[in-house]
Structure formats: structure tokens, C-alpha cells
């Protein structure tokens, strides 16, 4: 059972490294996508998709377009029902 931001951050890290093809990064809540190599707009769509599948949720277009930092995404993952 995922409890806190740290768990979600770990899960997101796994997803991101799977899609960008490396793990030369440590995710922090205040980071932006462009700080991680390979996290371009196409990768972004895949990352969102994997987050949805892994948690059995679905984000709205508005929620996705408002995402700014890693923390925003983690927040969404935690709170979306």
C-alpha cells in the first residue's frame, strides 16, 4: 500500500527510467521534466500513461496540462481517485 510521497517518487522513478532508458538521475519533487535527459514530450506521454496503468487511474487533459514539476505529478498520483 503506497503511503507517502517517497513511495510514489520511487514508483515514478522506476517508470521514468524504464522509458528514458537510463537512471542517471535522482527524482526530487521540485524537479522539471527537462532536467532529465530523454524526458521529452513523447516520453512524457508514455510516463503519464504508465503512471495511470500502474495505479489504475486516469488523468484529465486539464490535470495533465497543468503539470509543472515532478512534485505536481506525484501529488496527482497520490490524490487521484
Amino acid at each position: 500500500m503506497l503511503e507517502d510521497s517517497e513511495d510514489y517518487l520511487d514508483r515514478l522513478s522506476d517508470i521514468v527510467s524504464e522509458i528514458v532508458g537510463h537512471n542517471n538521475f535522482t527524482l526530487k519533487l521540485d524537479m522539471h521534466a527537462n532536467e532529465i535527459e530523454g524526458w521529452d514530450s513523447l516520453a512524457h506521454i508514455q510516463i503519464i500513461h504508465e503512471c495511470e496503468i500502474s495505479l489504475g487511474i486516469r488523468f484529465s487533459l486539464e490535470e495533465i496540462s497543468k503539470l509543472n514539476t515532478v512534485g505536481d505529478l506525484v501529488f496527482l498520483m497520490q490524490n487521484k481517485k
Partner: protein
């Protein structure tokens, strides 16, 4: 020698929407056996009319985009079946071109895009309803291309009806113009990968043979008809006859035979027709290039006449020098190494598993004959087989208008959205752009594109700053929707009209997305100064407003 048969598979993906993920999913699904490259967005027609970019090509098109009149039908605009089928014909002729360029051409058949709401009882109305018309379109396309054995129309109707999730994800379209959900793209990749693999492995359809010391022992030009040996209890003659038997068996199950021989035509033909033990006769060969020309040239002519790609052919020749020559000149053709001992050759031919396994139906046996007979070809007078004709057929019109309060919003949007064809990737708000443009030394132009199918809208914006001695282009953005049609050259030709006496500068700020713009700058402004010789392409008409 046999490893030549398992070709490395590389596929070029051409689509009229963003399907980039398809490549990665196909690569994964094939465990990296299939490599891919994604073609430029929405340039399917241009790609089909150009030289091959890869081994095989995969087309994923939506019927409303590729056949614009069908798009109008889906919006219930009045449109005739005839006009729709004419557009299908044009598309088919472009695919026909690609079939000569690529080893294999794969295309997903057309389905009604999920985004459209179709009244189910009206959809099947004969010659009017979308489902009825779409079925006719798919059937017509298939019929037009039925002689192209390397064209594979994959039944997307069956695939999509068995997919249990949403095909269209409206969020993805809003975000990145992706018309299909990631799950659907992944599903398609999984279903087409085995089709792609299967059609490439056993793909040889034609065997081109030499004559002297290949089909018979001896050289007919020197030894004469009586001197060459075929069968007749002569050991070498028997070995060559065995090879002829193996070739005949292959011909019987639909593999085509042709000759490429350095000989006098009449002398060689006489041997083929008159030698008592000759098994293969004149009618067994669909092409006979018997002359003193270079064999590689002859073989290319044979392939062109038969509308076959080099990778579907095998070349048999006893002479290692000739084999080498052909292999180097035409790398895709399979040239088995034939050992010194002729007795082994029939066995080698029989062990090649690269020939298409066909059911030995009557049709296949007749295949050889049908290549010799006149075939019904697409009426070329109506169709556009090259890119110039196709561009002319578009009837492109470029409208030029200065920036004003009505087009400010769309201009700003273009500035902020465009990545690929963007000179400096300068981003501004509406107000910022308005204020910037009010300066008397600055001049902003907007460009709208329309063609015979409709309006693309405002799709390019250029801003220029000048003083007495020189002018410089500050912004140049163009929507990728209108790339590949020469619009950018027309724009430059229009701009230079105002700056005849002074230098016009254009320099790009390279980004990792704007390589199309970098290429364009190298072409029209190689040292930063725009070439004033540039004229408007003939297929574009410019209107100033």
C-alpha cells in the same frame, strides 16, 4: 551463403498523424529484430513519391486525411462516390511508385475513425453512407494494387473490432495530435510485427540465370549447338540437366525464370529452342537479356520490366567475376556462391528456403504466363506518378497579409507552438508581439495556405527588422502541417521582393527540434545572407491581401 536470406528488417513508418510510438513498440515486439525510422509528420504523399528511405515501408493513414473528399463525406457534405474513388486512384498510383522503391509496402486498411459520430442506419446506404463508401474505397485500392505482390493491405477492420479498449484518446490528440490511444498503438504493433517478419523471410520470386556453363556445359558461341552438353550421358551435361530440372520445378510452382547471358541473341535462342535435351524452352523464361551489355544493367532492366524489387531475385552464374560484379552493383539480390563441382548445384538450389511457398493452384502456374501477356495497368493519364505532377495537382495558393488585430491571436499561437520550422524559437504573448510589431522599423507578415481540398489556415509567420543599410529576419515559423510542399521557398521569394537594394539576413538559433529550419537556412542563406535568386515554385500561386 544462406545467411543472406535472413535479411535485417528495417521499416520506415509514414503516417498522417503522430504514431511515433509504433516504431518503438514494433522494435520491442520483434525483440529488436526490426529497426525503424519515423518519416516526417503528415508527408505520406511526398514520401511515397520519393526514393526509398529504408528497406520496407509501413503506412498508417486515416481515410479522412488521406482522401479529403471522404473527410467531407464524414461531415455530411455533399460529395460524389466518383470524386472519392478518383482520389483513391491517385493514392494508389503513389503506392504503386513506392512498391518499386521498397521491398515490402505495408498499409493498414482504412477504418472509420472513432472520433466521428456515425448514424448507424445511414452509414450503410449504398454509395452514400460512410461505411458503404469506405468499404468500396478499401476494395478499390486493393484491386488497383493487386499486381503488386509486395503490397500488403492489413485488415484493420478485423484488428480494431477485436480491440476491447478505446482506439481514440482525445487527450492525446489535444496534447500532441496523436489520434490513437497508446494501448491501440501497442496492440497494432504486436499484431503487425509477425506479418512484417513473415513477408520478408521467404520473398524470392525470380531466378535470373546465365546460359553458358550454367544451364549447359560449354560455350554455345564457341562450341556451337552440337558442341554444348545437356544430359546425353555426359557427366557434366547430366549435372546441368539436373539444375534445369530443379529450375523447372520452381517455375511450376510460380517462381519466375529469366536469362542474362553474354551471347549472340540468335545463337543462344537457337540452342534453347533446338537442342534436343534442353528442358527449359523459350516460354519458360519471362525475360531474356541476351547481349554483350553489362549484366548488372541487364538485370536492372529485367527487374524494372517485371516491376520487382532486387531483393526478390536470385542470380545464378558459373563465373565468379560476374557474380561479384552483380553482387556489388545490386547488393539486395541474392547471389549464391556456386562451387567448382557442378554436380552440387541442383542440390544447392533446392536447399534454398528463400522461395515463396505458394499453393500450387492453377493461378500460380499461370503466373508466368500472365507476366508475359499484356497486363491491365492503372490508367496513367489520370494519375500522378511523380512528385512534380502531384504538387501541381494540389493547386496551392499562398495568401500574404500583414499582421493585424484579426490574425494576431493565431500568429502568436504559431510563434509559441512551432518547434521544427522555427528560426529563433522566440516566444511572446499577444501583447508583447503587438507592441514589438508597432515599431516602424519592423514588419510582420502572415501566410495562409489553401489547396484544392480546402484551407489550412494561417500557417506561417515572418517578422523582419530593417534599417537603411540592411534587413534581418527575426522570426520565421511555419506549421509542420504544410511542410514538404515548397511553401517556405515561396515565402522567401515573396519577402525578397521588398528588399531588392539591400542585404537580407537570416540566421537560425539551432535547437534540438529545429533541424528542418537549419537545413532550410543552409539552402537559402548559406552564409547568413538570403540568396536573392530564389523564385516562387511554379506550383504555388501567391495572392497579396
Amino acid at each position: 551463403m544462406f545467411s543472406d536470406v535472413m535479411n535485417k528488417l528495417s521499416i520506415y513508418i509514414a503516417a498522417d498523424s503522430v504514431v511515433d510510438y509504433l516504431g518503438e513498440y514494433i522494435k520491442r515486439s520483434s525483440k529488436s529484430q526490426i529497426e525503424y525510422e519515423i518519416g516526417p509528420y503528415n508527408q505520406v504523399n511526398q514520401i511515397l513519391l520519393s526514393k526509398a528511405k529504408s528497406q520496407s515501408i509501413f503506412l498508417w493513414t486515416a481515410p479522412d486525411v488521406q482522401i479529403p473528399s471522404f473527410g467531407k463525406l464524414l461531415s455530411f457534405e455533399p460529395i460524389t462516390l466518383d470524386s472519392i474513388l478518383k482520389e483513391v486512384e491517385q493514392f494508389a498510383s503513389q503506392i504503386n511508385n513506392a512498391c518499386r522503391e521498397y521491398e515490402q509496402v505495408f498499409m493498414l486498411s482504412w477504418i472509420i475513425p472513432e472520433e466521428f459520430s456515425i448514424p448507424l442506419s445511414l452509414s450503410t446506404k449504398s454509395k452514400e453512407g460512410p461505411s458503404d463508401v469506405l468499404a468500396r474505397m478499401n476494395i478499390y485500392l486493393s484491386d488497383l494494387l493487386k499486381e503488386n505482390n509486395n503490397f500488403h493491405l492489413i485488415d484493420q477492420s478485423i484488428l480494431s473490432s477485436r480491440f476491447t479498449n478505446n482506439i481514440h484518446d482525445p487527450r492525446l490528440y489535444a496534447m500532441a495530435r496523436i489520434r490513437y490511444s497508446l494501448n491501440y498503438i501497442k496492440y497494432i504493433a504486436e499484431k503487425v510485427t509477425p506479418i512484417i517478419k513473415a513477408s520478408v523471410v521467404a520473398s524470392k520470386k525470380l531466378i535470373i540465370c546465365d546460359l553458358d556453363n550454367t544451364l549447359w556445359s560449354g560455350i554455345v558461341g564457341d562450341d556451337g549447338l552440337e558442341g554444348i552438353k545437356i544430359g546425353s550421358n555426359n557427366p557434366l551435361g547430366e549435372a546441368h540437366l539436373q539444375l534445369q530440372k530443379a529450375l523447372k520445378a520452381l517455375k511450376n510452382r510460380g517462381i519466375l525464370l529469366a536469362i542474362s547471358s553474354k551471347n549472340n541473341f540468335n545463337v543462344a535462342l537457337e540452342a534453347i529452342e533446338k537442342h534436343p535435351n534442353m528442358l527449359l524452352r523459350k516460354e519458360d523464361f519471362v525475360a531474356k537479356k541476351i547481349n554483350w551489355n553489362d549484366k548488372a544493367v541487364n538485370i536492372l532492366e529485367i527487374l524494372s520490366d517485371l516491376n520487382l524489387h532486387a531483393s526478390s531475385a536470385v542470380f545464378l552464374d558459373d563465373n565468379p567475376t560476374e557474380r561479384d560484379r552483380v553482387k556489388k552493383a545490386i547488393p539486395e539480390i541474392l547471389v549464391p556462391e556456386l562451387p567448382q563441382d557442378v554436380a552440387e548445384w541442383a542440390g544447392i538450389l533446392n536447399s534454398l528456403d528463400c522461395f515463396e511457398t505458394l499453393s500450387t493452384s492453377h493461378e500460380d502456374k499461370e503466373r508466368s504466363k500472365s507476366y508475359i501477356d499484356e497486363r491491365k495497368r492503372i490508367n496513367s493519364s489520370k494519375l500522378f506518378g511523380n512528385i512534380k505532377d502531384w504538387l501541381n495537382s494540389l493547386e496551392l495558393v499562398l495568401k500574404v497579409e500583414q499582421l493585424n488585430k484579426y490574425n494576431l491571436q493565431r500568429s502568436t499561437q504559431l510563434l509559441n507552438k512551432t518547434n521544427q520550422f522555427n528560426l529563433t524559437t522566440r516566444r511572446m504573448s499577444e501583447n508583447e508581439l503587438l507592441k514589438w510589431s508597432e515599431n516602424s522599423q519592423r514588419f510582420c507578415l502572415t501566410f495562409s495556405v489553401s489547396d484544392r481540398y480546402g484551407e489550412s489556415g494561417l500557417t506561417a509567420f515572418v517578422s523582419i527588422e530593417r534599417n537603411l543599410s540592411k534587413a534581418k529576419i527575426i522570426d520565421f515559423v511555419m506549421s509542420c502541417r504544410v511542410m514538404g510542399k515548397g511553401i517556405e521557398d515561396a515565402i522567401i521569394s515573396q519577402i525578397i521582393k521588398n528588399y531588392e537594394k539591400i542585404n537580407l539576413y537570416m540566421e537560425t538559433i539551432p535547437s534540438d527540434r529545429n533541424s528542418p529550419m537549419q537545413e532550410f537556412c543552409k539552402k537559402v542563406a548559406p552564409n547568413g545572407i538570403i540568396n536573392k535568386e530564389i523564385i516562387c515554385p511554379k506550383h504555388i500561386k501567391i495572392i497579396e491581401i
